[in-house]
């Protein structure tokens, strides 16, 4: 039984049952607001975010999140401090870098990812059973990872192991704009007045890429790097795929306005099913979004490689000078990597980072609503790890919810979230922020979201 089948089976059982074990108290805040506002906002991409709003109007929003699994903000400040010549004339030393490498979790390698979106929504309900929302969005996805098989070379040395590889190290980024429409179809309660309201959501987006870049090993399995007492050998290669401007000049001619130009096209589809038991104060939701492929035009593909096999460290330095580095004689530190050699320019079809999320909420309390969701990991391009969000919404006032929560990500660990909102009949304002992977200074990630809207 695959995941989708299991979800449908569970849903059919749940939807047909009467959840009489709990009931929301009389006069609770949850009972006084539209069930559309009971769908708690999420930091990450959610195409159905606004179409659930039970009023006609528009909403603008912006949000971003990013995290890594190694460095917290204090580390970054320390690095900035040591790298500032005013503070530290000696600059970053080899030992400092060794300490930083020591912060990368053994066995996991370095991982970081980020998402950001900003856009405009216009829409609202047509009666009780149908809602329509139109959106115009700008979205960005980015991720980077350095395989532990590569990090280990510098972090652990070659005392216990001698063979290394670039492995799955990669970096990728995608910036898109899109227009789309989403509809919701709601059912009446199934079975009885306490039965479940079902909501089916479906939507589509026309996606245009504006920036795409990807780098990874060009050699299967990441190539090989062997450093032992007997010698050094390396056979590694990197490939880079970039579509940044419509001009052949590449990075040299890049200007930010170039991002406005279209670099391709694609279609994305989003699906959602949500069951709500209003009187029981419970909801379950499954969402699969961002299903689709994107064709990026004129992607420059370039390679860079380094091969050496020697028993002499000096020859390694010489090889570095001769091959991948554009060297200043006698000064490797001031050397730069040579330009990648463009091998091809082609249209590239990429898969959008799929979002599979399961959520559940319960509000069988006068003021408190609890939410839990899990977003399944995405592998491959725009990789993101499994995350679990546990949130609480406190409605001391019907239209002024306060939210606190915990957010767990496989990369960064436990984090903290909070937010305030005004969710009224004619006005919406939400602000939320998260300290990911730790608290404030010790956080290794951050998330924030702001949105406001007006309704007719």
């Amino acid at each position: 039984m695959n995941r989708a089948t299991a979800v449908l089976a569970c849903a059919s059982v749940i939807l047909g049952a009467e959840l009489s074990a709990q009931a929301i108290p009389e006069g609770s805040q949850a009972a006084r607001i539209d069930i559309g506002y009971l769908r708690s906002p999420h930091f990450r991409v959610d195409p159905f975010r606004h179409v659930f709003i039970p009023h006609w109007g528009f909403v603008t929003s912006v949000g971003a999140s990013g995290q890594n699994n190694s460095l917290n903000f204090k580390d970054v400040r320390a690095l900035m401090y040591l790298g500032d010549e005013d503070n530290n004339p000696d600059g970053l030393l080899y030992g400092d870098i060794l300490d930083v490498l020591g912060l990368i979790p053994r066995g996991a390698g370095f991982a970081a990812n980020a998402q950001a979106e900003s856009g405009l929504y216009l829409g609202g309900p047509f009666g009780q059973h149908f809602s329509l929302g139109l959106t115009a969005q700008v979205r960005g996805y980015g991720g980077a990872s350095v395989d532990d098989d590569f990090v280990a070379l510098l972090r652990d040395g070659n005392g216990s192991r001698q063979d290394f590889t670039i492995g799955d190290s990669r970096a990728d980024a995608l910036l898109t704009s899109e227009i789309g429409g989403h509809i919701l179809i709601r059912t009446n309660p199934i079975g009885s007045v306490d039965g479940a309201f079902l909501t089916f959501g479906i939507g589509g987006r026309y996606v245009t890429p504006h920036f795409y870049a990807r780098g990874a090993s060009s050699i299967a399995n990441g190539g090989t790097i062997s450093v032992s007492g007997e010698g050094v050998s390396a056979n590694v290669g990197l490939e880079k795929s970039v579509a940044i401007t419509g001009n052949p000049g590449g990075w040299e001619d890049f200007e930010f306005d170039d991002l406005i130009s279209r670099k391709g096209r694609g279609i994305a589809a989003d699906f959602l099913v949500r069951a709500v038991w209003p009187t029981s104060g419970l909801s379950l939701e499954a969402m699969v979004a961002n299903i689709g492929k994107l064709t990026v035009w004129n992607v420059e593909q370039a390679d860079w490689s380094f091969n050496v096999e020697t028993t002499d460290l000096e020859e390694v330095f010489d090889s570095l000078s001769a091959d991948p580095l554009d060297t200043i004689p006698g000064d490797l530190e001031e050397s730069e990597f040579r330009d990648f050699e463009v091998s091809d320019t082609t249209d590239l079809k990429i898969t959008l980072p799929r979002i599979v999320r399961f959520s559940a909420s319960a509000w069988a309390n006068r003021i408190l609503q609890l939410d839990v969701s899990t977003t399944l990991p995405v592998t491959g391009d725009f990789e993101s790890p499994l995350t679990v969000d546990l949130g609480s919404t406190w409605r001391f006032s019907r239209t002024l919810p306060i939210r606190f929560g915990l957010m767990y990500g496989v990369n960064q660990g436990l984090g903290y979230t909070g937010g305030i909102a005004v969710e009224g009949r004619n006005f919406l304002m939400r602000f939320a922020a998260g300290s990911l992977g730790g608290f404030v200074q010790n956080a290794s990630g951050v998330a924030a979201r702001f949105e406001w809207g007006f309704f007719f």
């Binding site: 971003a64 400040r77 030992g95 912060l103 070659n158 007492g229 991002l259 460290l313 000096e314 006698g330």
Partner: protein, 581 residues
């Protein structure tokens, strides 16, 4: 909301997040922050040297060769010794024999005063033809020599005479002619005489054609000539003391013409820069050379057979002026072996006692000359002047018709090959080699931090000794570039590692390695020692001491295949993390 807004928002979030993290108050605090990870060690094992160190690389600037048995050899620059036997060819004490005698009958002398007395005599086939020295010589072209002809008169009247020498042809074709006057004798039977000296330079002598014609006249005076004086009144004798030959032709047979056997002594100085033992110079200087070969190529420039007889090569220690030392008999004072016997190498054909050179021919021969070359090399390594001296006889001709000229010579090209089969003393021999190599190219600040974080450092050397000797290696290095002639062991700040000892492999009686020896040495480095590795350039010196092997009585034959396989690794353990929060 525009794209720019989105970017600004994301940046704002980042800045706010960073702002929440207080800036470190000090470098120390910043470093403590980065070191918040758990204490751990990082182990780097790096190759320093993984090489096959061939002994022959010690001779990289030398002219090396491989000889029989794979033995490595150094060649001394080829020497050429001309043996100019033509110049040595001469004849001595050639006489006009028998003497020419003129007698007068008594009636011829009993004549009135004023009566002339004349005589004319020619001796054809006499003279030189009767001297056995030139019996087998057809012609002799004279380089130098004087024929002295003395004519005596015992008449009491003066005699004017003219002597014409047939068979002595001047360059223009004319015969030698000379005139003289012999004073009147006393009349008591004694002779007065007159001598004519004929310069024979450029004169061609044909011995069989030699004739002497004498024409003379005198006038009887007032006093009668005693009758008894007419017998043997005029006597003419002559001879050549030394005839230096420009060319000689005929049936040249040294058995009948002993002058065709000439004694030769040629000296060829060998300069110290005629060979280069590279970094093995000191080792060889302290050792005995057991294998050396002199390869001779002898070219006979004459169109006559020549035989080198009793011909030897020896070594002499020249004085400061380059003169050959000589014994009381004037012979070269050759270098001697420990028994006091001159070290001489006979130049002979294999199995023979002489070396025969065909007319205009070439002969090559290899001579085992280890003692001679050993002495020669040691003299030169000790900054003495030395020469190879060739002494002996050249026997010209084999009885066949031939012609030898003054310029005829035998050219001896002498190639000396010093096989590196050496016997070193029990105390061993040392040589030193300086090298420079790239360091870790770290900034001084990085190097300081590396030393601070150093948990341990060691150099681990695996070595396999395929040389016939034991080897003790002393290694010193220092940061920076130093010239080759700098003694790094005495240089300030140098790092001297513990010695590495490689046992001598087992060798056979010929000094050849039968099985290599191996060793592994681990040398612990202090932090300051490790710091010397971090600069841009590293100057290192290796002082190697060769120790006699266990077999062969200290004898070791260095083959081209002899090598030390050296695998040197650095194992550096650094501390990381474990600080701050």
């Amino acid at each position: 909301m525009t794209l720019g807004n989105c970017r600004s928002f994301a940046g704002l979030i980042g800045l706010l997040a960073l702002a929440t993290a207080c800036e470190p108050a000090s470098i120390l605090e910043a470093r403590d922050q980065l070191a918040r990870g758990g204490a751990r060690t990082v182990v780097y094992v790096l190759p320093i040297i993984d090489t096959v160190f061939k002994i022959e690389t010690l001779l990289e600037d030398s002219d090396i060769d491989t000889i029989a048995g794979g033995l490595l050899a150094v060649e001394i620059e080829e020497q050429t010794v001309p043996v100019d036997f033509g110049e040595a060819l001469e004849f001595q004490n050639i006489n006009l024999d028998p003497p020419l005698v003129v007698s007068f009958p008594p009636a011829a002398l009993s004549v009135p005063p004023g009566t002339p007395v004349t005589f004319s005599e020619t001796y054809i086939g006499g003279g030189l033809a009767n001297d056995t020295i030139l019996d087998d010589v057809d012609t002799v072209e004279v380089f130098s020599g004087v024929l002295s002809v003395t004519t005596r008169n015992r008449l009491t009247i003066p005699i004017n005479y003219t002597a014409t020498l047939g068979g002595f042809t001047q360059s223009g074709g004319a015969s030698l002619v000379g005139s003289g006057t012999i004073a009147a004798a006393a009349g008591d039977g004694s002779y007065s005489s007159n001598t004519l000296n004929f310069d024979l330079a450029n004169v061609t002598i044909v011995p069989e054609s030699v004739s002497v014609s004498v024409v003379g006249t005198g006038t009887v005076g007032g006093t009668p000539i005693p009758a008894g004086l007419g017998d043997s009144a005029i006597v003419q004798t002559g001879g050549i003391a030394t005839l230096v030959v420009q060319a000689v032709a005929g049936t040249l047979d040294p058995t009948t013409t002993p002058e065709l056997t000439v004694s030769i002594e040629e000296v060829e100085e060998v300069e110290s820069d005629d060979f280069d033992l590279g970094d093995l110079e000191d080792a060889v200087d302290s050792s005995t050379i057991n294998n050396a070969m002199i390869s001779l190529r002898v070219d006979n420039g004459a169109s006559v057979q020549a035989v080198l007889s009793a011909f030897n090569l020896g070594v002499v220690n020249l004085d400061a002026a380059g003169n050959v030392p000589r014994d009381g008999l004037g012979n070269p004072d050759f270098e001697e072996d420990v028994g006091g016997t001159p070290i001489l190498v006979p130049v002979v054909d294999p199995g023979e006692t002489t070396l025969t050179l065909a007319a205009s021919g070439t002969s090559s021969v290899d001579l085992d000359a280890a003692p001679l070359v050993d002495r020669l090399v040691h003299l030169l390594l000790d900054d003495e002047r030395a020469a190879i001296v060739a002494v002996g006889d050249v026997v010209i001709g084999d009885g066949s018709q031939a012609r030898v000229t003054r310029t005829d010579a035998v050219s001896v090209q002498m190639g000396v090959t010093v096989g590196l089969d050496i016997t070193i003393p029990p105390t061993g021999v040392s040589f030193t080699r300086n090298t420079t190599q790239t360091g870790l190219e770290m900034d001084p600040e990085d190097a300081d931090q590396l030393v601070e974080r150093l948990d341990s450092a060691a150099v681990v050397a695996d070595a396999e000794n395929n040389t016939p000797f034991g080897v003790e290696l002393d290694i010193a290095f220092v940061d920076g570039y130093l010239a080759d002639d700098v003694d790094i062991f005495g240089y300030p700040g140098r790092v001297v590692l513990d010695p590495i000892t490689l046992d001598a492999p087992t060798v056979d009686a010929q000094g050849l390695v039968t099985s290599p020896s191996t060793t592994m040495v681990s040398i612990v480095l202090s932090g300051e020692q490790a710091r010397q590795l971090t600069g841009d350039t590293l100057s290192a010196t290796v002082r190697a001491r060769l120790i006699p092997g266990t077999g062969g009585s200290g004898r070791g034959a260095i083959r081209a295949s002899d090598e030390i396989v050296l695998d040197v690794q650095a194992r550096i353990v650094l501390r990381s993390g474990g600080g701050g929060q």
